[in-house]
Symmetry: C2
Subunit: 433 residues, 2 copies
Amino acid sequence: MRASSDTQPLEKQNGEAAAMACTPLPGGGVSSARGFKAAGIHGGFRRDPNRLDFALVVADEPAACAATFTQNVFCAAPIIVSKEHLEGNSFGTARALVVNSGTANAATGPEGVEDARETARSVADYLGCPPCEVMVASTGVIGVRLPMHVFETAIPQVVESLSVAGGADAAQAIITTDTHSKEAAVTFSGDRVGYEGCVFTVGGMAKGSGMIMPNMATMISCITTDAPLDPSTLHDVLVRVVGTTFNKVSVDSDTSTNDCCYLFASGAAASGLPLFQPGSAACKAFEDALHAVCLNLARQMAADGEGATRLIVVDVQGAATDADADLAARAIANSPLVKTAVYGHDANWGRIAMAIGKSGAAFRQEDVDIDIMGIPVCRKGLPVDFSEEEALRRFERPEIGIRVDLGAGNSSSTMFTCDLTHDYITINGDYRT
Amino acid sequence: MRASSDTQPLEKQNGEAAAMACTPLPGGGVSSARGFKAAGIHGGFRRDPNRLDFALVVADEPAACAATFTQNVFCAAPIIVSKEHLEGNSFGTARALVVNSGTANAATGPEGVEDARETARSVADYLGCPPCEVMVASTGVIGVRLPMHVFETAIPQVVESLSVAGGADAAQAIITTDTHSKEAAVTFSGDRVGYEGCVFTVGGMAKGSGMIMPNMATMISCITTDAPLDPSTLHDVLVRVVGTTFNKVSVDSDTSTNDCCYLFASGAAASGLPLFQPGSAACKAFEDALHAVCLNLARQMAADGEGATRLIVVDVQGAATDADADLAARAIANSPLVKTAVYGHDANWGRIAMAIGKSGAAFRQEDVDIDIMGIPVCRKGLPVDFSEEEALRRFERPEIGIRVDLGAGNSSSTMFTCDLTHDYITINGDYRT
């Protein structure tokens, strides 16, 4: 049902999913769930000795593990090696994720793949586990080999630093041009879903900022939980949740060579109890909690896009199909003209109309309604008088909502992006040199 | 055949088509061909009285006419009316194209369509022709009605100003954020193609700058010729030429609501002689000449993209299919990270690798060669040592060539774009307010 065509704002939504049965855990992150430790140190991958650049997340025991990876053909060496380890060798269980920033280990050929394997082997030696239980990730400049000598001192040091309070440092160590680290965690009760007395935690960290329009995966994100799930169930849930959270973020329409999202499940909050079964109430509660964490991280990522001053939440409703909704939302979120208009505090809905018009989504222009920040600006494809002063006031908000009703059906899609600013140009016109 | 994988530059091309049998006509434009007059005046659509904002191109007699139009669903009222006139009423002949800048007459509903019809009727009255022989075009802000009272004085004034030397003023009157007007013209001889003693002219004008990634058509362009062709042949040639020229330009990946390209043929250079037949040598010579004019205008458009400091010519070779070549070239040309790297004079080929990797084109990363400005920077997917000093020197050139060989087949595609700069943000963050 499309909204009525008068000039009332379209019904309110804020891009957050409907209320869930989970509870935010303030200050929580990737080591909040029981059974995990983490650390972030300055290992020497970056010149600035005050900058953390090396992170390790470790499960006390082999944990169920699932992941989604970039679909970029130029996928990086650590992606290749982690896929091998996860899919080929370790039957979906893993002990650790190790991440360096500064160098992406992408476009580095067979030598880069061997470097990534060697990194996993070294970490495995210190942890006393098979190399195939170590996942590896890198982020930074493309086309440069990893400085392998740095790992020799950095690995023992980061293993030494592991602690249940280390999540914040780990989150700090994986960022590149992000202006701050990104963590989120929630808890949910096992009561009423067959795990009376158990309290489960889902927590994670992510990095984003530039080269961000994940396709099937995300930048680098690591989520942990102490809920008990097998690797296959974990994978199914992760793919669904990533599809509506990280994969709906676009900073600049560019898809990194190194995107990856890892999810580890220790089961430590329900020792001796059966695994969450697919389709069970417990599994649903877990999926809701995971969604809350990933959505929170996705929104942080969009809001902290390179040079961003505003989070933009694009809601497209009334599309004929899910694919059409996604096409239209993505066209708006990727339009430089829409993003610069938000930067300029210009409620220029003509650019939004242009973006959906070129998107390939099916609709008729005389059926389209557009709201910007709750202000009706277009009804049935025609301009609506609105107060420019009120629009300017609302542009002061940190989050700008753009809502479009195509009037062509019942499908909807929400995308998260940011404005396009002088600072984006400065950051990316002067990144490598 | 892909290039050899050593570090020699890939073979040189400059994005211009191979040498043609036509001759540039310096200073030529839309009124250079015999049988046409043009004018550009300040009609009052813009506030600045020194700024030309109203253009008219007129054929002395009804001329064959063809056009390509935007495929944006939110297509503007003048597009709707011109399509009606061209396809429905006038059997492919027309007398005039009238263009106003300042207001796009897009998203203006049935009233906007009626405004465009009224404009055509008024011009037709002054020219003494049926309204269906008048094409209309508008460019400027979306969602605002045309100021119809302005036409009352502007139309007689622009008709009064028509002259065979008026092309330059017309080209000036159609621009918006372009920094200069865009004209091109060539001549070709009828000798050896069955029209001995005849000299034919093809000349035109275009506007571009922002909201530029034409899909099936272009911003606003008008080309005239005095060669004799029927409307159907004219249409076929135009569609082919637009596909390899204007449709290969992308300034910001955004497709305007008002894109259109008109081609008028008076036949005045071969009075009494038969029409050029499809497939004939004469028709081929005409197509080459039209291609030269459109390519020249397309390159001018990309080089003068909003805020641009550099023309970027992206050549993708060795693709498995034409579609793959286009996907890869378009991904590079639309990547904000590639475009800001050029702005920052950074030969950051990792971003080019990223762009082709996400494009959807089929290839293997170990087969890819990349050159920037003739400097080999990547061979078989791996970095090549190169002189950063030499790269910095070559970045001083006005035109930056990016060449990629995917090593996957024999198809190729060339795209024209520009760098992404602080000025693009300034222009578009402050356009309407």
